[in-house]
Each structure stands twice: as structure tokens, then as C-alpha cells.
């Protein structure tokens, strides 16, 4: 494998790796809070489950970028990048979702924990509780978009 492909591969793996780490931290924290709520009131299970899942999307966005990249750099299709410049381009393009995914998932997890506490006290305010974590997700979506556009541009 050439250095160019290796660089691109580092990018592809980082996207799934870091965004996945972020999501697992976020979902994990929210899960602890959610389990606590369910011990008190099992009927809130479906509501807190939705809130727990919210920080999980970054991992999926990371997977998505990872997959698009892999299918372009000759690992799962496409052709190997020929020069180091192109390899670096893939690496950098993947960094948007890798880094923003990592940070935003953790932060979204915190917002989700607070929202779960909100739902525990006032189950009728579920709609509002859902919006706070979703606000954080905006930035992960923007990073996902930038990564997609960049990778499409390279190809």
C-alpha cells in the first residue's frame, strides 16, 4: 500500500474512530442517567431512551464518512490515490467529522443527561427536552456536510 492510500485510510478510520468514541461516551453518560430515571418510573422508558439515543448520531455520521472514503480510495472500491497530496486531502476532509463528532457527541451527551433529568421531573415537557441536545447536533451535521462535500470534491 502506498503512503498516499495509507494517509487516506488514516482519515477514513479516524472519522469512524473519533466520532464513535464521542458517541459512545455521550450515549453512555445519557444511559446512566436514563437508567436512574427508569428505576423511579418505568413508564418513562421510551422517552428517556429517545433522549439517550440523541448523542449516538455522530458515530453514524463518522461511519458514513468512513464508508464514502473507503469506497473511493481502493479499499472497498474506487482506485488508490496516486500522490501523497490526494491522500492528505482525504485525511483532512475526514477530520471535520472526526473532531467535531468527538467533541459534539460528548457535549450533546451532557445536554441529554440534563434533558433526561428534566423529563424525570416533568414528563409532559418531553418535546422541549428533546430540542436542547438537538441544538448541539447541528454542528455535527455541519461538519458531516463539509466532510461529504470535500470528499466528493476530491474524487
Amino acid at each position: 500500500m502506498s503512503l498516499a492510500t495509507a494517509l487516506a485510510l488514516i482519515g477514513a478510520i479516524s472519522a469512524a474512530l473519533f466520532a464513535g468514541i464521542g458517541s459512545s461516551i455521550g450515549v453512555g453518560n445519557a444511559g446512566q442517567a436514563a437508567a436512574g430515571v427508569v428505576t423511579e418510573d418505568p413508564s418513562l422508558f421510551s422517552k428517556v431512551l429517545v433522549l439517550q439515543l440523541l448523542p449516538g448520531t455522530q458515530g453514524i455520521y463518522g461511519l458514513l464518512i468512513s464508508f464514502i472514503t473507503l469506497s473511493q480510495i481502493g479499499i472497498m472500491g474506487g482506485s488508490n490515490p496516486t500522490d501523497i497530496g490526494t491522500g492528505l486531502q482525504y485525511l483532512v476532509a475526514c477530520m471535520a467529522i472526526a473532531i467535531v463528532g468527538l467533541v459534539s457527541a460528548i457535549q450533546q451527551g451532557r445536554a441529554a443527561v440534563s434533558s433526561i433529568a428534566l423529563v424525570a421531573k416533568r414528563p409532559d415537557q418531553f418535546g422541549k427536552a428533546m430540542i436542547f441536545p438537538a441544538m448541539v447536533e447541528t454542528y455535527a451535521i455541519l461538519a458531516l456536510l463539509v466532510s461529504i462535500l470535500a470528499i466528493n470534491g476530491i474524487a
Binding site: V50, L53, L54, G56, T57, I60, Y61, L63, L64, F67, I68, S71, M76, F126, G127, K128, M130, I131, A134, M135, E137, T138, I141, L142, L144, L145, I148, L149, N152
Partner: protein
């Protein structure tokens, strides 16, 4: 799309008819009763009753039954619970059936008491278990002893039975005793059991030596054994028997509770009966009453007013007055919307009910909501699956819980939006059809209007366009409500100028080739002359905002500064429009993830494996992306759309009615 107009209803009647009136109102569920003002009834013949005592009594019985039902569910799970119960809806009971429930209430309440009582016994029995366990544990080291532990000795000898907290031998104990009391006649030491933590001893000596031996032993931290008058092995056997009996008792109690399952429905009905009674007393508290008469005031939706009045006056002699509420009254809000928009009322309520003078935003929200959701899920087959599942549930369970029905209807319509956008962007289970085609060596092309993955800029431009339309609609509603309340000039300052500025800037931008190129067009979209017109319009809008944005300040310096700040709000419009890029991003996420699974399946090279991978993958994808689409449709509605015009803050209309959990009484 409307907030229903409300009437204020005042009913005056004889106290003997109070029950009839309240029951009729409770069944109709059309009047929200206002708590009579304490101040107003002061110094008149009227006063307010205090029924809290009766109410508490009913509430206590209701909670007793609730406890009983919960206990019953532990031992005989309710087959009809959770989602299933919600789908089935509340049981409809005719008035006469309900009468039967009421007549047999003593009996049913007894069942509840029995259940609660037996649960108490179970709890006690369960606490007994560990206690017996510890007893057995403490006797275990004495197993080999063939005398009872409270054996005191024979006529001449004394037996000292107990433990020391270390490992010892018979000789070591005897030696220790002789060392302390060298002049005793003699001792006999038996070690029953011994380990590092404790040794069980029986020391026998002459009665006269007993105090000295006892003292010697005490120095070794000799402690008395557990109290027991039987030989340890017998005692342990007895305790084990007791344990078994105890467990059996628990089991018997549990199955006896489970046998009450046949009365579960009766308990549920009676629960609702007590809740309704408690509610009724709550209302009686709110009435102004004299010795013989009562006065009830409340709000009723204008369209139901006549029906309520005629239903009441047909039952008994009453004086009823309908009036328009004062403008500064805290009138509750009830929404009424066309069938297609109604399901979205839940989304609006989630944000906030409209104030009584606000425009009800439900219908405009609905116009976009289904489409926004669709774009973010954007797969025709996913949409079809959602439609089929929700459609079947809606058709099969006509009686289901109102809130659930509304959500299912909403998702059905969202499913239609998803089918539409799936067709527009050519996605059917992602790229399943071309993937299968390529496996079979055929190149299948599916029609699409935009291919989001290969024309990302075009897709993004389309997303922004949807966003601009969404935001401009919000601005339009702002103008509509300002004009409706007579603030025509405000409508121009806060609406028209912004249309001019944002719209003008867009036209201006579209006349430049570089800007259009960024959006995925080959050439400038509008001519340069149109562009310059747009530029001028934008400039007029900007000047208008600068001059009038701070019009509530009298000082011109302050006013211009505020205007400049208002003009800075253009950055808000920019970020709002960019925020709609999520339409494209989430849509792409759905289609790319589904192609991941399709590809993985195809790579397996095995039909069965392909089907399994695709099935699991697509189910996962639908669930996770439905959640995303729902959350972000709400976000776009709450932040970008409502941000422009909607404040809310109204109070939801809560009629006096059957606030029941399990049943509803038909008229």
C-alpha cells in the same frame, strides 16, 4: 387554522340539581370551570364549600386500588398493558354498566384491601427469611455438640459453653485456665469446632471452681453462644423447616394474589369511578353556593355553547347566561384545524400553546412539517413502510388513546412526505435496486430529479430554497397577525423591509456567475440588470430597517443605534438559511447508510446472508433516521420558523371531564 373563540358561561341553579348538572358537564367534557373568586363572594349570601375531606377520602380509595393493581401486576402481569392498552384505548361503558360498577364497589374495594393486606404479609414473611438464615448460620459451628447450648451442668459440675475468637486446642485452653487459676481441682475442655476466626468450646469444671474458670475464660474473650434450648442439630433442622414453611407461605400468598386477576377489570373501573368522584368534589369546591342555590362559571367553546345549554336546561330548571369574555381575562385556548394539519397540533403544543389573540400556527407548520420530515428521511420504501405500519394500526384500533392516535396520524403523513422525496431523489432502500441489478449483471438506472450524492451542490441549493420559503412564510404570518391587530405600519417595518433586504440580496447574488457556480448552476441565474434592481431593493430594505428598527426610542441617536442592531439581524437570517443544509445532510445520511448495508450484503455473495444483512441494516436505519428526522423537523419548526413570529404562552383548554385512565362512560 384557528384558535376557537370561547364564551363565558354562567349557570345558576338549585342545589338539589347540582349533582345532575355536574354529572352532565362531566360527561360532555365541554366546559372548563373557573374557581369562584373568594373576594367576590365575600359579604354576599354565597360562599365556597370545603369538600377537601370527602375528596381526600375518594383519592385515598383510588390510590388504594392503584396500589392493588400494581401489586397484582407483579404476580399476574396484565396482558393488556403499556402500548397495547394505549392502542386498545379506554373501555367504553354504558351508563347502566357503570351503575353496576358503582353498586358493587364495596365488594371490589374489598378485593383491593385483600391484595394490599396480602402483599404486606408477603413483605413481612420475606423479612423473616434472612433472620432465620442468620440463626442457622450462627448454629452451624455447634453442629457436633450433643447437648443443648443452654446446658448449665450437672448437680456437682458446671458447664461453660461459648466461643473464643481464635484457633485453640483443648490443651492450650486448659493450660491458659491453669495459669490463671492454679488452685482449681481440674477442668475438662472440649473443642466442638475451631477455625482461625472462632472456636466453640465446652469447659466442664466443679461448681465451686466455676467463678474462677469463668474469669480465666473471660480473659480469652470468651463469649456466650446463641440462645437455644435444643440440641444444635435438632434446632437447625427445626429452623430449616421454618424456612421452608415461610417460603411456602410466600408462594401461597403470591398465588392467592394472582387469583385476584379475574377482578382486575373491576378494579380498574372502580379506580376511575373514585377518580371521577374526587374530580367532582374538586369542582364543588370551586362553586359559589348559598343555602339553596349554586352558581357555576366557566369557559365553553362558542360552537359547543348551544349544545351544552340545551343539554343542561332539558335536565333541570336553570338560569344560564352566555357572554363574551373580557379582553384581559385569562381565557384558555382550544385549537381547531383541518384534518391534515390537526396531527401537528402536538408539535405546536410541545412548544407552547398560542396565546388567545395569537394566530394558530398549526396549519402553516403542517404544510412544511411532513415535507421537511420526508426530505430528512428521503427513501420511498422507508416512507411506504411507515405508512403501512401506522395505517394498519390506525385502521385496526379505532378506539385508541387520543395522543397516540394523533402521533400515528402525524407519522402516517410524514411517511407520505418521505415517499414523495424518496421518489424525487431516487432512493428505494437506498441503492438496493441498482445493487441487485449489478449482482445480476444488469445496469439499472432509476429516475431521479436530483441525485444528492453526485450533485451535492444542487441538492444543497434546493435545501436552502426550501429554507427560504419556510422563513418567508413565517415572516408572512408575522405580517398577517400584525395587520389583523391593526398594526399595518409595523407589518411594513418588520415584514416588508426584511423581505426586501433578504429577497433583494438573493436576487443580487444570483446575478453573479461565481455565486451561482457555488450553488451548482452553470451560469448566472438572473441577468445583471435584474441583479442591480435586487441590489437597490435590498438597499432600501436595509435603510428602512436602519431607520425604523428602533422606532420605539424617541432619541434619534438611540433609535439609529437600535436600528443598526436590528440590521445586524441579517446574520441571523444567514445562519437560519444555512441551518436548512441539515435537510440534505440527514437525507444523505439515510441513503448512504442504507447503501453501506446493501454493499455489505452484496459483498457476502450469498442470497440468504444478503437478505439478513439488508433486513437488519434497513430496520436499524429506519429507526435511527426517523428519530433524527423527527427531532430536526421539530427543531426547524421551533427555532427557524417560530423564531420569526411565534411566542405562544397560552393556556390549554382543560374541560371538566372524565379524567380517567381505563374507561369512558358513554352518554
Amino acid at each position: 387554522m384557528a384558535v376557537l373563540p370561547m364564551k363565558k358561561i354562567t349557570i345558576a341553579g338549585m342545589k338539589k340539581d347540582r349533582k345532575t348538572v355536574l354529572e352532565a358537564l362531566q360527561r360532555m367534557e365541554a366546559v372548563e370551570i373557573i374557581d369562584a373568586d373568594e373576594e367576590e363572594t365575600k359579604d354576599t349570601a354565597f360562599s365556597k364549600a370545603d369538600t377537601s375531606e370527602q375528596r381526600t377520602q375518594f383519592e385515598r380509595m383510588a390510590s388504594r386500588i392503584d396500589d392493588a393493581l400494581e401489586i397484582l401486576n407483579q404476580y399476574a402481569p396484565d396482558a393488556n398493558s403499556g402500548l397495547k392498552a394505549k392502542l386498545a384505548g379506554k373501555e367504553a361503558l354504558s351508563a347502566s354498566d357503570f351503575g353496576t360498577v358503582v353498586r358493587s364497589r364495596e365488594q371490589t374495594l374489598n378485593y383491593a384491601n385483600e391484595i394490599v393486606q396480602r402483599q404486606k404479609e408477603i413483605t413481612e414473611a420475606k423479612a423473616e427469611g434472612p433472620r432465620i438464615e442468620t440463626q442457622i448460620e450462627s448454629l452451624m459451628p455447634w453442629m457436633k455438640m450433643d447437648l443443648p447450648l443452654d446446658f448449665k451442668g450437672t448437680a456437682k459440675t458446671a458447664a461453660l459453653i461459648g466461643t473464643v475468637p481464635e484457633a485453640v486446642t483443648e490443651d492450650s485452653v486448659a493450660e491458659a485456665i491453669y495459669q490463671y487459676a492454679p488452685d482449681i481441682t481440674g477442668v475438662n475442655v472440649d473443642v466442638i469446632s475451631s477455625d482461625d476466626e472462632q472456636s466453640c468450646l465446652m469447659v466442664v469444671c466443679l461448681k465451686k471452681d466455676a467463678p474462677q474458670v469463668d474469669e480465666a475464660l473471660r480473659r480469652m474473650e470468651f463469649a456466650r453462644p446463641p440462645v437455644s434450648s435444643r440440641i444444635p442439630s435438632e434446632e437447625i433442622a427445626a429452623l430449616r423447616q421454618q424456612m421452608q414453611d415461610n417460603n411456602k407461605k410466600i408462594e401461597e400468598l403470591q398465588s392467592s394474589i394472582a387469583s385476584f386477576a379475574e377482578h382486575r377489570e373491576d378494579l380498574k373501573r372502580l379506580y376511575d369511578y373514585f377518580v371521577m368522584r374526587a374530580d367532582k368534589y374538586q369542582v364543588i369546591d370551586e362553586l359559589a353556593q348559598s343555602n339553596r342555590t349554586f352558581i357555576l362559571t366557566g369557559y365553553v367553546p362558542a360552537e359547543q355553547a348551544d349544545e351544552v345549554v340545551s343539554a343542561l336546561t332539558s335536565r333541570c330548571e336553570l338560569a344560564v347566561d352566555l357572554a363574551d369574555p373580557d379582553p384581559d381575562e385569562d381565557v384558555p385556548v382550544k385549537l381547531h384545524n383541518p384534518k391534515l394539519a390537526e396531527p401537528v397540533e402536538g408539535v405546536v403544543e410541545n412548544y407552547s400553546m398560542p396565546g388567545k389573540n395569537d394566530v394558530d400556527p398549526t396549519t402553516p407548520v403542517a404544510c412544511f412539517y411532513y415535507f421537511l420530515f420526508g426530505m430528512m428521511l428521503s427513501d420511498a420504501c422507508y416512507g411506504a413502510i411507515i405508512c403501512i405500519i401506522t395505517g394498519i394500526l390506525l385502521k385496526k384500533h379505532k378506539n385508541m388513546d387520543g395522543g397516540l392516535q394523533r402521533s400515528l396520524k402525524m407519522f402516517f403523513l410524514c411517511g407520505l412526505g418521505t415517499i414523495l422525496s424518496g421518489i424525487l431523489f431516487g432512493s428505494y432502500f437506498g441503492d438496493l435496486i441498482p445493487t441487485i441489478g449489478s449482482l445480476m449483471g444488469k445496469d439499472i438506472k432509476i429516475w431521479n430529479w436530483i441525485d444528492p450524492l453526485h450533485q451535492p451542490m444542487t441538492m444543497m441549493t434546493f435545501s436552502f430554497t426550501v429554507g427560504i420559503i419556510h422563513i418567508f412564510t413565517a415572516l408572512g404570518i408575522l405580517m398577517y397577525s400584525l395587520i389583523k391587530h391593526g398594526h399595518v405600519l409595523d407589518a411594513i417595518y418588520d415584514g416588508v423591509f426584511w423581505y426586501m433586504l433578504v429577497g433583494g440580496l438573493i436576487v443580487f447574488g444570483l446575478s453573479y456567475e461565481s455565486f451561482c457556480g457555488m450553488l451548482g448552476f452553470d451560469a448566472a441565474v438572473v441577468s445583471s440588470s435584474a441583479g442591480s434592481v435586487g441590489g437597490w431593493i435590498a438597499l432600501i430594505g436595509a435603510i428602512g430597517i436602519l431607520l425604523f428598527g428602533g422606532r420605539d426610542s424617541r432619541n434619534w441617536g438611540k433609535r439609529l443605534a437600535k436600528g443598526a442592531y436590528a440590521l445586524y439581524g441579517i446574520t441571523g437570517y444567514l445562519s437560519d438559511i444555512l441551518s436548512y443544509s441539515r435537510l440534505m445532510a440527514l437525507g444523505l445520511a439515510t441513503s448512504v447508510i442504507s447503501s453501506v448495508f446493501n454493499t455489505l450484503g452484496a459483498m457476502s455473495g450469498n442470497v440468504i446472508l444478503f437478505i439478513i444483512i439488508a433486513l437488519i441494516g434497513h430496520v436499524l436505519n429506519i429507526l435511527i433516521n426517523m428519530l433524527g428526522a423527527y427531532v430536526h423537523s421539530n427543531r426547524l419548526t421551533f427555532v427557524e420558523f417560530f423564531g420569526k413570529f411565534y411566542e405562544g404562552g397560552g393556556r390549554k383548554f382543560k374541560p371538566f371531564g372524565m379524567n380517567t385512565k381505563y374507561i369512558k362512560v358513554t352518554k
